[in-house]
Each structure stands twice: as structure tokens, then as C-alpha cells.
Symmetry: C2
DNA sequence: GTCTATATGTTGATAGAC
DNA sequence: GTCTATCAACATATAGAC
């Protein structure tokens, strides 16, 4: 049995729906880039996960690098749009008055916790922006986050009119750091979770999305409000 | 001149000092793993940077993975020792009383900013711990940071006796996130630095090591002190 | 649009001379 | 202890059949 088939029979080259293939490639890329990083993920492993071939990926995206780009663009764009929607809504309602600091932070953070598609994977991908090869993502960062950062810094500037933009920017970066760390999944292997009795308690409610978001907002708001450290 | 030498002459196989070679390999690994990550750095590029050969690296460390391990161990060990020294000194002087929160944070953070050898490279490497392949570094993380985290959480627990360890651990992770973000060099391409006039002002004093440390301590102390967010 | 087959380069690791 | 030479395995990307 199983003789070498005549060349003509090979296999029906079924032209699957192009968009579906693209989506499946993006899904696989998102998952694997998140888990293993860009360099740590081979196009072969990625396309196998997606149920296609290397050449299909290159047909659709041209190169591995462009695939990363597309992967990030698919999530970050909509996510930042939601952030700006929330900020816009707040500003409309406030009519010129400075916004409550907690509300600004929530507008920035909640979209990360909220959308189902975001939840499972894109957080990780967003985190990758801060650890993958800079020459790959640093222009993307500017491109993708330039407007959103400017808008939120403006809002913060109205809350703290006495601070310079540099001072605000530094605190903003501290905040982004906490956020990225959380999104990267570092809460799971936190040092205090070694002790098993604590593990149960913590896993229960405190580490739920809603709770982490609340705690993070409270933490960052207090940090941002802290008076500038005096130059000694 | 320069005829093809007889085989016997080839080149004097100069047995350089073994320790020096090892050090140079560690230096190169530190620099390149920091810049491009583990998977992004080839053993060839690394050994060329170190002025040796791939086989020398494998002779000394056995594998690329072990080289990463050694690279991290060289810096993180002494760094955490300095942290504990500082914490010990504080606790000796306090004689049982709770420590000032800012002092605890400084004991934890200052060693990152202080040692000359740390300054240029190891920060980056430490940051890598939070983005390189988890199966590679997550046990190392426990190994290297278990004790230090426990000790500092204990100290924080005495400052906030009313909080559970899980609550403290969560805030501690937020703090670690800010720290890692700063150490990863993300202050340099912060969003507000686009505007050129600000660039100069910021680069001047605010982004100096001493200033960033001060600001970070103030920020985190306030964040840690913030009352726990109420469960809605 | 998708495949198989292949071109071309690079990887980590090793063998063996010196 | 260090080198050169070489290995098999893997990488990304492309050509061409269907």
C-alpha cells in the first residue's frame, strides 16, 4: 500500500478563505510571540500552530518582521482607540475642569483588562513591546502610542498644573512600568506566593482582574500625587 | 613575505589567562543579552565581541544557557547581598521598631543605581530576567530573589501590620514593575521626549541617576501607603 | 491562495590539532 | 586553554506546480 502517488494526484490545493488564514496566523503569532518572544519563535513553529505553511505566512505578510508588526497593530490600535474614547467622554463631561486623577488612570488602564480578546493574549503582546528588539519596535512604539501618551499627559498636566512636562513624564513612565509588569503575567510568580497558605487566599479574590485594576489605580494615583522629591 | 606557514608554525596557541577569558565572555554576554535578549544573541556574535571563539565559550560554560545563568549569577548575587546589608543595618539601628518606608525602598533600590559595574550593564540584564524565556529564568528568579523578597516583604509587613501578605505582595509587584521599567532603559524613549524643547530640560537633571532614584522612592512610597481600594 | 521543494545562510555544539 | 574545521539542525525566504 501507500505507493508514491502520481504527480497529478498530489493533493487538492484547497484555496481556503484567505482572511481566515490571515487571522489564524495572527492568532498564532500573538500567542507565540507573547510566550517566547520574537527571536524565540520560528516561522515554522508559528505556521504549524496556525495550520498553514511558511510560504502562506510570507505570502500574506511578506516577512516575519511584518507579521509582528501586523500582530501588534491589530490589538494596540483598537485598544488605544478605546482609551481615547474614554478620555474624550470624561473631558466632555468635565467641560474644561481638571479630571479626577483616578478617572484618568482608569481610562488608560481599563481597556487592558476589559475586552475578551485583549485578555488572553494581547496583554502579553503589549508587554513584548517593552522587551523585544528595540530597532524592531521602538519606532512602532512612537507610532502607536504617541498620540495616546500625549493626550493623557495633557490630562495629567491639568491635574498638576504646577509640574513640568518632564516631571509628569517621569511619573507616567513609572506608572507604565507597573502596568507592563502586571500585563506580562508577573503577578503569577510573585515571591510571596511561595508560601502555600497564602497562595490560596491570594488567588481567590485579590488577583482577579477587577481587584488588580482597582489596586493598581489606587497605587498609581497615590504615586502620582506624591510631592516631587526635593533636590538635596 | 607572509607565505603560507608550515603547519607546525600555525600560530602559537597562547594559553591566555583562563579567568580573563571567562570574564571577557561574561562581559560580552551581559552586554549583548541585555541589548538583544537571549535568543536574539548568537554565540558567534557574542564570542567575537569577547575576542574568543565559540568553542572557548563552550569549554568554559558548557552551553549558551549556562552562560546566561552565569551572567546573571555574577551580578544579581552581589547586588542582593548589598540590599540585605543595607536592610540589616537599618534593622539593627531601629532595634525592633518599624523602619521608615522610604528607607526600606532605598535599601532595595539604591544598589541598582550605585555600583559602577551595575550601572552600565547589569541593570539591563536584571531587566532581562523579566522578559527572557520563562522556562529559562523563572526558577532562577526564585532562586536569586526568594530570600531578598521575603526579607523586604517582612520589613514592609512591619510598616503595615494591618495588611495581609498577599496585599503587600501585590503592591510590591507594582513597585518592582516600575523599577524594572526604569532599569530597562525605557526612560530614554519616553513619549514626552518627542518635543525637543523638553528633551533638553529633562536630560539635564531630572533623568540623572540620583534624581530618578529620589523620584522613584517618593512615587513608590506614596503608592504603598495608599489605602487599599475598597471592594465595591 | 496554498502547497511542496529548495536555496541559502545561520545556529549551537563538538572533534581534534596544537 | 584555545584554536580551526566541521557537523547536523534549524532559520527565513523564494520558486513554481496546482
Amino acid at each position: 500500500m501507500a505507493p508514491s502517488q502520481p504527480a497529478a494526484v498530489r493533493r487538492a490545493t484547497r484555496p481556503r478563505d484567505a482572511n481566515e488564514t490571515k487571522e489564524r496566523l495572527l492568532d498564532a503569532a500573538e500567542r507565540l510571540f507573547a510566550e517566547r518572544g520574537f527571536e524565540g519563535t520560528s516561522l515554522r513553529a508559528l505556521t504549524q500552530e496556525a495550520g498553514t505553511s511558511v510560504s502562506a505566512a510570507n505570502y500574506h505578510f511578506g516577512s516575519k518582521e511584518e507579521l509582528l508588526r501586523a500582530t501588534l497593530l491589530r490589538r494596540v490600535g483598537p485598544m488605544n482607540a478605546r482609551r481615547l474614547e474614554r478620555l474624550d467622554a470624561l473631558e466632555r463631561r468635565a467641560a474644561g475642569a481638571p479630571l479626577p486623577l483616578e478617572a484618568i488612570l482608569e481610562a488608560y488602564l481599563r481597556p487592558l483588562f476589559e475586552e475578551q480578546e485583549m485578555r488572553s493574549h494581547a496583554r502579553f503582546v503589549a508587554a513584548r513591546l517593552y522587551s523585544d528588539p528595540p530597532e524592531l519596535v521602538s519606532t512602532l512604539k512612537q507610532e502607536l502610542f504617541g498620540e495616546v501618551s500625549r493626550r493623557f499627559l495633557d490630562a495629567l498636566g491639568r491635574v498638576f498644573p504646577e509640574r513640568t512636562r518632564a516631571e509628569l513624564g517621569l511619573r507616567f513612565q513609572f506608572s507604565v512600568g507597573s502596568m507592563v509588569h502586571v500585563m506580562s503575567g508577573n503577578l503569577q510568580d510573585a515571591p510571596h506566593l511561595e508560601e502555600p497558605e497564602v497562595q490560596r487566599e491570594a488567588a481567590g479574590e485579590l488577583l482577579s482582574d477587577a481587584s488588580v485594576l482597582r489596586e493598581l489605580v489606587a497605587f498609581l494615583a497615590a504615586g502620582l500625587r506624591a510631592p516631587l522629591a526635593a533636590t538635596p
